[in-house]
Structures are given as C-alpha cells and as structure tokens.
Amino acid sequence: MSASVSPIRNPLVTGNKSYHDITEDICSPTERTPTPAWVLTFILAVAGLALYVFCVGWTIYVGIGSWNLNRTIGWGWDITNFVWWVGIGHAGTLISAILLLFRQKWRTGVNRAAEAMTIFAVMCAGQFPLIHMGRLWLGFFIFPYPNTRGPLWVNFNSPLLWDVFAITTYFTVSLLFWYTGLVPDFATVRDRAKGVRRRLYNFLSFGWTGSAKHWQRWESLSLILAGLATPLVLSVHTIVSFDFATSVIPGWHTTIFPPYFVAGAIFSGFAMVQTLMLITRKVLNLQDYITLEHIESMNKVILATGTIVGVAYLTELFIAWYSGYIYEQFAFYNRVLGPYYWSYIGMMSCNVLSPQIFWWRKLRRNVMVTFVMSIFVNIGMWFERFVIIATTLARDYLPSSWSYYTPTWVEIGLFIGTLGLFGTLFMLFTRLAPVVAIAEIKSILKDGGDQYVGPEVARKKAAETTEAH
C-alpha cells in the first residue's frame, strides 16, 4: 500500500515520531506561556511597528516632500521596498503551490510558515504604493466604481492599475489558500484546548470534523488552488515588472524582465524563508520537522534561482551592447560604472557570486553559513531593485537634469518600520497557529519518516543480504 521510496532518500521527519508526537510537538508552542526570547523579539518588533506608524503619520502630515525624491528621481526607496517585499512574498506560494504540483514532499515542513510569510510580506508591500500616492485619503480612486466624476473610469491600460488587481488578487488567494490549509490544524488545536482558547479555536476551525468526504474535497481544493496560484504568482511579479518594462526608459524597457523578476522574487523569498525558519526551528524546537535536508533543498533552490538571475543580468548587459542603441548602452554603462556603482557591486556579489558557495554540500548543510547567506541574498535583492529604479532614473536623456538621491530619515524609518510590522505579525502567528502543517506532515510520515523507511532501514537490509552471501 504505502508508496515505494528510493533507498537514497533521507527521511523528512526525524526522531521516530508517532502521530501523537507530531501533534504534541507542533501544537505545544501555542499552548505554553511565551518564552523570554519570544517576548523580547516581540517587543522589538512592536517598537519597529511604532516607528512605522510614526513615519507614515509624518509622511501624510508633512507630505511626500519629507522624502528626498526629486523631479528626476520620482521613485526611490518607496518602490524599491514595494518590489522587495512583494518578491519576498513569492516563496510562500512557490513552496506551497509549485512544489506541491512538482510533488516535492519536503515542502510540508516549511510551507505553512512560508505562506504566512507571503501574506505578511504582501501586506508590507501594499503599504508603499498607497503612501507614495501622497494623498492617502483619495486612495480609493484606484478602484473602478461608478462615480460622479464623469463617470470617469480608471485606466485599465495602465500597468500600475494591473498592479492593483494583481496584488489584491494575490493577497486574497494566498489568504484563502493558507487559511484553508490551516482549518484542520486549528481543529487539532481546538480539540486539545480548554476555556477561552477552546472558544477561540472553535471559531477559527470553522467546524472541521475530519470527515472522509471533507478531506477529499479539501485535497481537491488544495490542488486546484495550487494550480491557480502557480500562474498567479508568476503573473504578480510579471505585472510588477511591467510597471517598468512597458515604459520606454532605457534600462527598464527590456523583454526579459517578467521571468527574471519572477526568478529574483523566488530567490529573495527563499532567502527570507531561510532567515525565519532557521530561527523558528531553533526557538520552537522543530529540528525534527525542518531538518538539514530541508535547509539543503532550499539552498539548492537559492543556488538555482541565483544563477538564473545571473544569466538574466548578463543577458541584459550583453544585449544592451548588442542592441546598438546608444541610450540603452549608456544606461547599462551607468549601472556598472555610474554614481551608483556600489549598489551594482552589492547586487552582483550578493545575488550571483556569493550563492555559488552552495555548490559545496558541506556549506549547504551548515546552519550558520546558510543564515549569513540568507541575509546576504536579502540585501542583494534589495540592491537589485534599487539598481533598477534609482540608478536608471538618476541619469535620463537630459544631462542637465541628472541627479543623485539619498533617502531621508523618514524613508529609512518606513523601511525599518515595515520590518517591524512584518515581525509583529509573524511573532503573533507563531503563537496562534501551528507553524508546521500538522495534517500534511502526518500524511507524509509513512513515506518520509525515518521509522518506516529510509536509508537506515535500507542500509541494514543491504548489510543483511551481503552477509547472507
């Protein structure tokens, strides 16, 4: 009955777990009183959130003039942060949807947290287009609704409006996907809880019973949502790239942007998953569920996507020369050797060169190295967006309007503030919901857990047969 598993696969769940052990290990963090480490991190995150609220308030009160944007450089840290955050969100959908379609079973250890990360990252991302409009109270103008202004419709031909649709759809679908996956696990928490917590999880678990028919529909729903989320995740960053690529600005208008943005998004998202999961697995004692195998697999994805991004960088550079179009050539000359050369160096070294260390198995399986690398990649991908946005704008067609841009404290505060917002939400998530998908882990235990099959058993068997000969 149970599927045949190759002897060279390592177990996905270690520590000889029973089903009950899994429930116990994953639910207990939501039941214990928070540890001092959690409280400390939470306070730090909330402080960041407070900074965020203050800076948003300042921006709205003073106006966009409190930022250092100018007539040449109309997009700076705001849109850089937007693209960076949206990109980070993509790994969650990749792990939960695309890896589900590709039957990469190791995804079960990290998909829940990665999806949560997606939702929180998209929330952070959504802030920036909203506040960069300046007059936030007119934000509802971006939605097409019958109005007394004509009725004047929004411009459906504008990539910025496509963004509105893409981001809201992405957020909604990710939330539904994530929550539908959570419902059975909330039921597990519910059935262990008492008092007020029982009432809370009664509400959150939507009346889940675990009936066979419900499971069947649930699986069908998960699979189709995964099928829908896969092109969706591609479309979202594609549309973000259209914000730039539909223009006629040299350095922005290039056809490789859609797939290259998507690869970069997955790249940065996996780095963020690594950063978060390396800490979470330690703090919540989940080393048996998020094993070195998981970390190694994610490092391979980072290596692969980092290299794809590298191919794209070099393609752009080469085709800029090949095009024979002097403005295109200048835009790329300027990226590499212009006033923002340091951010190009940061991008190239963090995104393309440094992940190459993951060709070595030893380094892929080293937790400390992985953690440092994940931070590197996060920084590198931020630089990439900065290179694309600010560097390109700083040198336009008229040398007289060339400019240079540095952020004000408000812009820096906003960026750090969104880290606080993200952190606050993620810390709350680790308290409220099981951070590993309980039901899904249980369903792979018998073909991915070490007490049933795995190299140990296979090795023993092989040893026995050789002895018999």
Binding site: T23, P151, N157, W162, V173, T180, D191, F206, H214, S443
Partner: protein
C-alpha cells in the same frame, strides 16, 4: 452547536491501515458506514469508501470563466462604449493590455468561488461548530462510524462485533 439528531456507534483505530482494511471488510459485508473521520487525508481512503470524485474543479472552471468574461467584457465596454479614451496611442479596444486584469479576475473568481463552495457544501464556516465524536480524531485516531439511530439491537450487536473483530482499539456510542 449544530446537531445531526443521530445515535452513532463508532470504533477508533490506531493505524490507518487497520482502518482501511476494516472499511474494505465492512463494505464486503454490506455494512453501511455513516462516515469516517481521520486526522489527515489518508491516501486510498476515497477508493476504499467508494466515494465519487469531487466535482469542485468543475465549479472552479465555471467561476473562472465567468471572471474572465466579466473582466474582459467590462473593460471592453468601458473603453469602447462608455468612455472611449486614447492612452499612449493605443486603440480603444487594446486587447493585449486587457489580458493581465482579465487573468487576475479569472483567478480571483475561481478561487473565491471554489472556497466559498467548499465551505458551503461541507457545512462549515466561521462560528459554525459541527459535533465531533472524539477529541483525539484530530490527533492520532482513525474513526469508523455507523448510524444506529434506527438500528435494531441485533444489528447494533453485529456492528459492535465487526468493530471488535477488525481491530478497533476503542468502541463507543454517542448521540450527536
């Protein structure tokens, strides 16, 4: 708390393979299973129970098609009938530029529609509380339940006997 007004006889199994074997046996003996509850989706359970394939994906296709037609149709109406404007030298009916939003609406309609359908047909939703047989079903117990509301004592004995013989770790009745 919702109630089904049923008296249920159920057996709890410790292992999904024992449960699957019991289900196949019960079906071979023509015992009518009311429902089966498991902590996770057990592969092969649908076939063992003889469940028909879920038709959720068909509803998804229909919702998606509605979203696509609505999105594309609406933009076409706005830009060719209601308020034609030329943007960037594009024609009024600039189909390639309508594709992204059409796609997003297709996905949005299909996903939201399917999720709502899923919760509705499963009788679930925020605040709804369906009765459960045992708290450990969401942990590590696999449950086969028989409806004994109108069953005779002899039938109930037969079911009890069956559960006993098929390796159920615990057997109990409950009114839900």
């Amino acid at each position: 708390m919702k109630t089904y007004n049923k008296e249920v006889l159920y057996g709890l199994y410790n292992d999904e393979h024992d449960m699957l074997k019991a289900i196949r046996e019960a079906r071979a003996q023509h015992l009518e299973i009311w429902d089966v509850f498991t902590p996770f989706p057990v592969h092969g359970l649908d076939n063992a129970l003889g469940l028909t394939e879920s038709r959720l994906h068909i509803s998804g296709f229909i919702y998606g098609a509605i979203g696509a037609i609505f999105g594309f149709g609406f933009m076409t109406w706005v830009f060719t009938r209601d308020w034609p404007i030329i943007f960037g030298g594009k024609p009024y009916f600039s189909a390639p530029a309508f594709i992204p939003i059409t796609f997003e609406l297709t996905v949005l309609f299909a996903s939201v529609g399917m999720v709502v359908t899923f919760y509705t047909i499963c009788g679930m939703g925020p605040g709804i509380l369906n009765p459960t047989l045992d708290d450990r079903i969401t942990d590590d117990k696999f449950c086969i339940a028989f409806d004994t509301t109108n069953a005779s004592e002899a039938d109930e004995d037969k079911l009890r006997h069956f559960l006993n013989g098929s390796g159920a770790a615990e057997i109990d009745t409950k009114n839900i």
